[in-house]
Symmetry: C3
């Protein structure tokens, strides 16, 4: 727990009010009470700010005068709030060392400050960096590497020849480096194309629960620094995901597609294979991306929700759009004559 002055110092921010007030917890602005810290990131919450019971609020300099309680003053209140959550992180700490029920190859290189949980398996040639936490029931395959200060939650499977960078977080059930979906039609069925490439993941990457990122067919699948993946995302073989791109839950990106930097995907977006998406593209939820994009901006597809009876009538007409267009053109032509 920190007092206001300590928080201000930790975040390198100015503050106003009682330097000694102790923050015991974080809470939403509308419900925060004594000892609690909150934040205002947008004008639309100024009403809540006026009525807040919080002990401390992180505010933009423009709103500081309107803050009725102690405040931390930040040009980026939301980012500052994020940093406070890190100070108040309550995720259980893990002591360094290899659990007696872990199975670590004598040919693996595990840093003495790393923590390896029970039933976790580390194969030969793997390199586990300084301060890494591999929780319980994790698997790290041959010649894979986990960079310093990364944390891998229970149930994660990391195949061979997968490199995970520093300060990454991999959530439960994520599968890194499984075979890409590569098959050639053969005389009696599908002929498997063994996936000989690996997977390279940069620093500061977070990977959500049950997300699967496949290894490459010949070259590596690549995830650059700072990329964040939500749960149940599928990244196919040979994709390249650019720096700081954010992909929300249940997205699926087909093989060999290249996504630029600083892109943001809402949930359930699907992207076909072998296309290029430039930097700074946003997709709204459930967008079906069927071609390359070279202009930054926001893209969408889909139809809006309606009551089912109404939707059915309109959906039928979707299948008549071509004929409606022709009828319209015919009427226009007649009109002209």
């Amino acid at each position: 727990m920190y007092c206001l002055a300590e928080l201000a110092e930790a975040l390198d921010l100015e503050f106003s009010g009682d330097a000694s007030v102790v923050i015991t917890a974080l809470a939403p602005l509308a419900t925060a009470g004594p000892g609690e810290l909150s934040f205002v990131a947008s004008k639309k919450y100024l009403g809540d700010l006026a009525a807040t019971g919080a002990a401390v609020v992180i505010v933009h300099p423009d709103f500081a005068a309107q803050c009725p309680v102690n405040c931390l003053i930040s040009e980026t209140p939301y980012a500052s709030y994020a940093r406070v959550t890190q100070l108040y992180n309550n995720s259980p700490a893990v002591a360094p060392g290899i659990h007696t029920c872990a199975v670590v190859s004598e040919h693996a290189d595990v840093h003495e400050t790393a923590a390896i949980g029970p039933n976790t398996v580390v194969e030969g040639g793997a390199i586990i960096g300084e301060g890494v936490v591999l929780a319980a029931n994790v698997y790290v395959g041959h010649d894979s590497r986990i960079g310093a200060d990364s944390r891998v939650f229970p149930g994660v499977v990391i195949y061979h020849n997968v490199h995970v960078g520093e300060r990454c977080i991999v959530h439960g059930g994520a599968i890194l480096g499984a075979d890409g979906f590569g098959f050639a039609p053969g005389p009696v069925g599908w002929e498997k194309i063994c996936q000989l490439g690996g997977l390279r993941i940069g620093n500061n990457v977070e990977i959500g629960a049950c997300t699967a990122i496949d290894r490459g067919a010949l070259e590596h699948t690549v995830v650059e620094d700072g990329v964040i993946f939500d749960n149940q995302v599928h990244i196919a073989h040979n994709c390249h995901i650019g720096k700081n791109t954010a992909i929300a839950a249940c997205a699926g990106i087909a093989g060999s597609t290249r996504i630029g930097a600083n892109c943001t995907f809402s949930g359930m977006v699907g992207v076909v294979g072998h296309v290029n998406i430039c930097d700074n593209v946003h997709f709204t939820g459930m967008t079906m991306v069927t071609k390359s994009i070279s202009d930054p901006g926001s893209y969408s597809s889909g139809t809006p929700m309606s009551p089912t009876a109404e939707w059915k009538r309109n959906a039928v007409r979707f299948r008549q759009l071509e004929s409606m267009q022709k009828r319209l053109a015919r009427l226009e032509a007649k009109r002209e004559t």
Copy 2:
């Protein structure tokens, strides 16, 4: 195995026919043979009923006279059939006790009637209730609780501070309480918002394989009693899912959304964040839910399937709808003049 009279007593139903006939198995009405039990839940199967070879059929009182074989008479034949499946459940039983290959913290509280499978890890502060079964390779984090008679299948990961109620079933690969997808844009990339809330799951909840339900950012994510989730559902942080709501496979619900009671989701429905869905709403498959709903009823979106060549022609026209509408309006205006 039960005879007809025993089943009638167990289900508190009337029966008609040979009290001593023994039911060895359950089978679909059309294929059921000697010793087998089936049911009729709707008028459209009355033809199958007339021809059935089943030993016993569960029928509504209205159809009992038309049943050519022994019958159990129920106002709710489908629910009665469900109860019979429970009597004939063939899922292997698990003996109480802690497997020698389990890793249970001395600071965990495990009821003496609970069964803890091999390679299962239970952390300090966890409370495992009466009759609970944790199968093999399960992880239960610090201070989490599993209520009486709940069953957790292999490979499930339950993070810290997750409470699961009584009589719940959690299927393989489900991940409960991973971090929500919370990040603030920072000066050099995404700044992680540590997820300080927990996850609270009520009684009689079933969670399908590979379903992920995230913990809350500050407050808890909440799943009320009787909710059922199919496989590969994604529930984001701070969602609240109302009592007895059923969510079919591959649905994704974004953060802070509130779903009412008794809602039913077909597969692959997507719901945006921060909306409210009232009680008794049904979504057809793949619906894109982009706003709050305050009227019960059925809602849909999407376009109907067509042969690809035909679809392509119509899909192009979708992008011209606005201009088609304008052309139509122009023709109408001219017509009026």
Copy 3:
């Protein structure tokens, strides 16, 4: 590593050029260098072929004359290339035997040539065939069977009464045989229908990471020989998937649906329950399949991606399609009068 003559013999192909050239690796045609093998599967890469630095290229007889380097001549270059990837497979080998940290029931039947990894659990009545590899942290339930030469990657959960055929590959996090989503509405909530059927998977089936295939309600869910599933596919109870069908990532198939042979699904396709899809059907990505299909061919649904502002205008009009159609009909009627 193989020289050209050895590869030609292994694949039963003719070759042209230096029989003794040694292939050290495989690479894409455009970037391949000395010692590397590539292939040309389509006319559109003939430009790359002319400029290639590869040591050996697999080419169709029609293009052999245009190959500037050594070549292997194949009627099916892509399938031949697949077979070469199998010769160069770099997935770490696993030695036979049961790891000391595996937990294998004395009532299981494990072939002496099978490999059972650390923390893997095999229950009573299970049969593990010749040459099978169960990696680390796998679970195989009671009375389940894994056929000869199948490979199961870490973190896979196989419930009881699931049969997997020969030469299958099951990737990390796949869940085979969890309960189907069967519930009857009861007086106080959902009444569980215990799933009494099993799961039967044929030979040469590959199952991707985090894919879940449910057991049947009464009868078995069935996957025929040669079917390939990508990651995060959901197959509900009582589905029947025909021979050599390929299902790309994130597809969801609802209960009791029957898919024919040789079908191909692009990513994120959704299929409703209780329909029949004939052989040789292709679905483009994100197609919503709401009815049975009896004519082979390609099917689609969805709307094309647009810039969001443009999409919004058109999407609004989708909800007016029925009224636009009526306005159009009215204009046509007036025109006729």
